[in-house]
């Protein structure tokens, strides 16, 4: 199986390199995340702990990183693959002279998928594309609780994972300078919300409303990227 996958990857690279006006793009941006389920879980943990912890991080927007590689399929459209990495988290915290208590929820996600873009204006210098990104999104949640009283401390950590589908419609504005290409894009991620399970165990958490704990990455994605046009005739 591994041999087949490597062979497939090598053949794709040869095909990609032999084509003209193909684009490789690295990008960074910012994403906002719904995370309703995580926020609910955080509130319930605080209530049940009996400790007056404050919510100091509430799953804020945070940086995303990714790249894409596309093959020009026509004068105005491109088909390619892409990957993004995003993260966010929540924290409950309390500290006084006698000790400290905290509860962290750190979420990281990798998105792998294909995209397709088609130019929707006629400008050569500032082409504007409508984009569609589909992907699998693999999420890892690490929950860590820690209690420190004087010289004694106690902590516990737990990881959960999920794998879901994602669909992101958007737009992208490009500018080509010689073999370089610059791009600004915006999109809105819409996801399926599968339950998060403990590693290698069929166990999950439920919030007080009876729903399983999930990672809800739904939200706005803004990014800036730069890349190369491979196979272009200058």
């Amino acid at each position: 199986m591994k041999v087949k996958l490597v062979a497939c990857f090598v053949l794709s690279c040869i095909a990609f390199a032999s084509a003209q006006n193909n684009v490789v793009l690295f990008r960074t941006g910012i994403g906002t995340y719904s995370m309703k389920s995580q926020k609910s879980f955080q509130r319930e943990f605080r209530t049940q702990s009996g400790i007056p912890m404050k919510n100091v991080h509430d799953f804020p927007p945070y940086l995303t990183f990714g790249f894409s590689a596309g093959i020009r399929t026509s004068a105005a459209s491109t088909l390619g693959v892409w990957m993004d990495y995003c993260s966010t988290g929540g924290r409950l915290h309390y500290k006084d002279y006698s000790g400290m208590a905290r509860f962290d929820q750190l979420l990281k996600a990798y998105q792998f998928g294909v995209y397709y873009q088609v130019q929707i204006n006629k400008s050569r210098n500032w082409p504007l594309f409508a984009t569609i990104h589909n992907s699998l999104i693999a999420t890892r949640l690490t929950m860590t609780s820690e209690l420190v009283l004087g010289k004694q401390s106690q902590s516990e950590s737990l990881s959960l994972r999920s794998l879901n589908f994602s669909f992101r419609p958007g737009i992208a504005l490009q500018k080509k300078v010689k073999v370089f290409v610059f791009q600004a894009s915006a999109g809105f991620d819409i996801e399926a919300h599968g339950k998060m399970r403990e590693n290698k165990k069929d166990r999950w958490f439920e919030t007080s409303n009876g729903k399983a704990l999930t990672a809800q990455w739904d939200g706005l994605r803004l990014s800036l990227g730069a890349g190369l046009i491979i196979g272009s005739k200058i």
């Binding site: 009996g50 400790i51 007056p52 912890m53 404050k54 100091v56 991080h57 804020p60 945070y62 940086l63 990183f65 990495y85 993260s87 966010t88 988290g89 929540g90 924290r91 915290h93 309390y94 500290k95 006084d96 002279y97 006698s98 000790g99 400290m100 208590a101 905290r102 962290d104 750190l106 979420l107 990281k108 209690l147 009283l149 004087g150």
Partner: protein, 612 residues
């Protein structure tokens, strides 16, 4: 990639300040507790912290660094230590108390922040009993029976005071104590055993006995037969102490150092138990009890028959071997006459008859005849030989078995019944010394009631044992002829001639259903019943036990005995058959036969009182 990942970094720091230090110690104020403490029995310790503004959150008790079970209830820490769990010697007890700081900090909320208070005490366990001591002593001290002994130097035991009664043992936990003042003993007889009880031993240190009444009390009877109960010289403490006196009355009084109480007025022939109970209010079931039996002293000799001489204010008493003469109303014994063999029965006029003018008395000293004597001068005597006088009538030379007298007239006619195997009723002329009338003989009736004769000697009435009725005879030309029939019973002439009263017999077991009828007859012609009085056999729970007639006061006498042992007596006038006097006396079964005569109530056990 790690640098590109979100990392939580914000913190919330509470401004809570640490609680201030506090300083306090535990002092054990219980005077029964000493440190080191001799653990003798499984002992429950209750330590109550009296001045704590901080709530107690936890407590730990360690004995020789080993936790023992303890509990917390409010401010009281409790645990039980059993001496058998520890070896002889000293053991260290550490009591740790945790108080809430109420700071609100995280550690406070987690229960790990508290003020810690610690108290150490030492336990001693010792299984060696104390040595012997001299015998304890017992005496009343300040109103309490107090045992004293010589304490030992050992501290590993408690004293147990065992009594020879069902009372619970008293325990003295201080081995250095040298006395025990018994708070519950009220007096009397008791035995104490002083025990030393400790871990693995119960040793008797001494036994002492005591027997002394706590109070000197008595019951005295005054001339008016009023009982006075008094006491003095009370040895016990009288505070919160009661005395209950029980007789006819029930009195509950505070016990004083001395007292005199008028209790009861005793009845004629009375005897009465007086019971006292002395107890402390705190221990009402632990009592000193004592009793006295009080009897009235008789003022006459016990007697079987009695005749009153109202004109001379004398009483003649007949006993089994003497006749006594007393003066009335002072009851002074004046003279006595030996009368060996005299017969008397529980019927009136069976052994002694006196002329109405009191000039002569007649008694049966032996079965041979009648003895006449002067009731005022016992030395003046004369005998009448009835044996020879009645040979012709009886047709027998046998000795006379028995003679019962009736009455005698001033003219010398005396009635009697005479038994020589068979029995006759007869009238004997003391002047002529011969029988002037006799009945037919009866068989099987050795105690036939003697006839009665009227004062003028003309009418005789007698109960015929062979008939259901009594018969009346009249003297007609020197011989007595039957005039008619009347009821059976005791008969008395109400005058010298023609009026007679009949008192029915009650028998040994009087009927409780039938009324008894007292009848008065006019005997001028054939007997006519002129008046009757029906007497009920019972009045509630009082039962008729006696009916009689007193010739001197012309009074009917009825006696009803009640269930309390007393006789309720009515004196009834013949004028209208109404009761004119009610009396109370001890009943027959307690003191003897009752008599009423000439205004005096008598009991044949020797009691007499004038009815006023």
């Amino acid at each position: 990639m790690t640098g590109c990942t979100f990392s939580p970094h914000n913190e919330y720091v509470s401004p809570i300040e640490p609680p201030k230090d506090i300083y306090f110690t535990i002092e054990i104020n219980d005077e029964n507790f000493t440190d080191p403490y001799n653990l003798v029995y499984p002992t429950r310790f209750d330590f109550t912290l009296q001045e704590t503004s901080k709530p107690i959150t936890n407590q730990i008790v360690l004995v020789n660094r080993t936790p023992v079970s303890s509990s917390l209830n409010g401010k009281t820490i409790s645990f039980t230590l059993s001496p058998g769990s520890y070896p002889d010697g000293r053991s260290e007890v550490v009591i740790q108390v945790q108080f809430d700081t109420n700071s609100g900090s995280l550690a406070d909320r987690m229960g790990t922040e508290y003020y810690l208070l610690e108290k150490k005490i030492t336990l001693i366990t010792d299984r060696t009993p104390p040595p012997d001591i001299p015998t304890p002593t017992l005496a009343y001290e300040k109103g309490f029976l107090t045992m004293r002994w010589t304490p030992t130097t050992k501290q590993n035991f408690v004293y147990m005071i065992k009594r020879n009664s069902y009372w619970k043992d008293s325990i003295i936990t201080n081995p250095g104590q040298s006395y025990f003042a018994d708070p519950i003993f009220m007096g009397g007889k008791i035995k104490y055993t002083l025990m030393a009880s400790g871990l693995g031993f119960d040793k008797a240190l001494g036994t002492v006995e005591f027997d002394q009444a706590p109070i000197d009390w008595k019951v005295e009877i005054s001339d008016k037969r009023i009982a006075h109960l008094s006491w003095k010289d009370v040895l016990i403490d009288t505070a919160n102490t009661k005395i209950r006196i029980t007789s006819y009355k029930d009195k509950l009084l505070p016990l004083t150092r001395s007292a005199v109480f008028e209790m009861d007025t005793l009845k004629l022939g009375d005897q009465l138990y007086y019971n006292i109970e002395i107890f402390r209010e705190k221990y009402p079931n632990i009592k000193y009890q004592d009793y006295r039996l009080v009897r009235l002293l008789p003022n006459l000799k016990p007697f079987g028959d009695v005749v009153m001489l109202p004109k001379h204010q004398k009483i003649l008493l007949v006993t089994s071997n003497k006749i006594y003469r007393y003066s009335i109303p002072d009851f002074v014994l004046e003279d006595s006459l030996i009368a060996q063999g005299i017969n008397y029965y529980n019927f009136r006029r069976t052994s002694l008859a006196v002329k109405p003018d009191e000039s002569a008395a007649y008694a049966i000293f032996n079965s041979g005849g009648i003895t006449r004597f002067d009731p005022l001068n016992f030395s003046d005597q004369r005998n009448y030989n009835l044996f020879s006088s009645t040979i012709e009538m009886t047709g027998s030379n046998q000795e006379i078995d028995h003679i019962a007298l009736g009455n005698v007239t001033n003219e010398g006619l005396i009635t009697l019944s005479l038994t020589k195997v068979t029995t006759w009723s007869l009238v004997y002329d003391l002047n002529l010394e011969k029988v002037i009338w006799n009945s037919a003989y009866y068989t099987g009736f050795p105690t036939v009631l003697a006839p009665v004769i009227s004062g003028d000697g003309k009418i005789v009435a007698f109960d015929n044992p062979n008939s259901l009725t009594a018969q009346v005879l009249k003297n007609a030309g020197g011989s007595f002829e039957i005039s008619g029939e009347i009821d059976k019973g005791q008969k008395f002439f109400l005058n010298d001639k023609n009026e007679l009263i009949n008192i029915p017999h009650l028998g040994s077991y009087p009927s409780i259903k039938e009324n008894k009828i007292v009848s008065i007859y006019n005997l001028d012609l054939s007997p006519q019943k002129t008046r009757t009085l029906e007497i009920q056999p019972n009045r509630g729970e009082q039962y008729l036990m006696g009916i009689s007639y007193d010739v001197i006061t012309r009074s009917l006498y009825t006696r009803y005995d009640d269930i309390t042992g007393y006789a309720n007596i009515d004196l009834i006038t013949l004028d209208n058959f109404n009761s004119y006097k009610k009396l109370k006396a001890k009943s027959y079964g307690y003191t003897g036969v009752h008599f009423y005569c000439n205004g005096y109530l008598m009991i044949n056990s020797g009691f007499i009182e004038q009815v006023k």
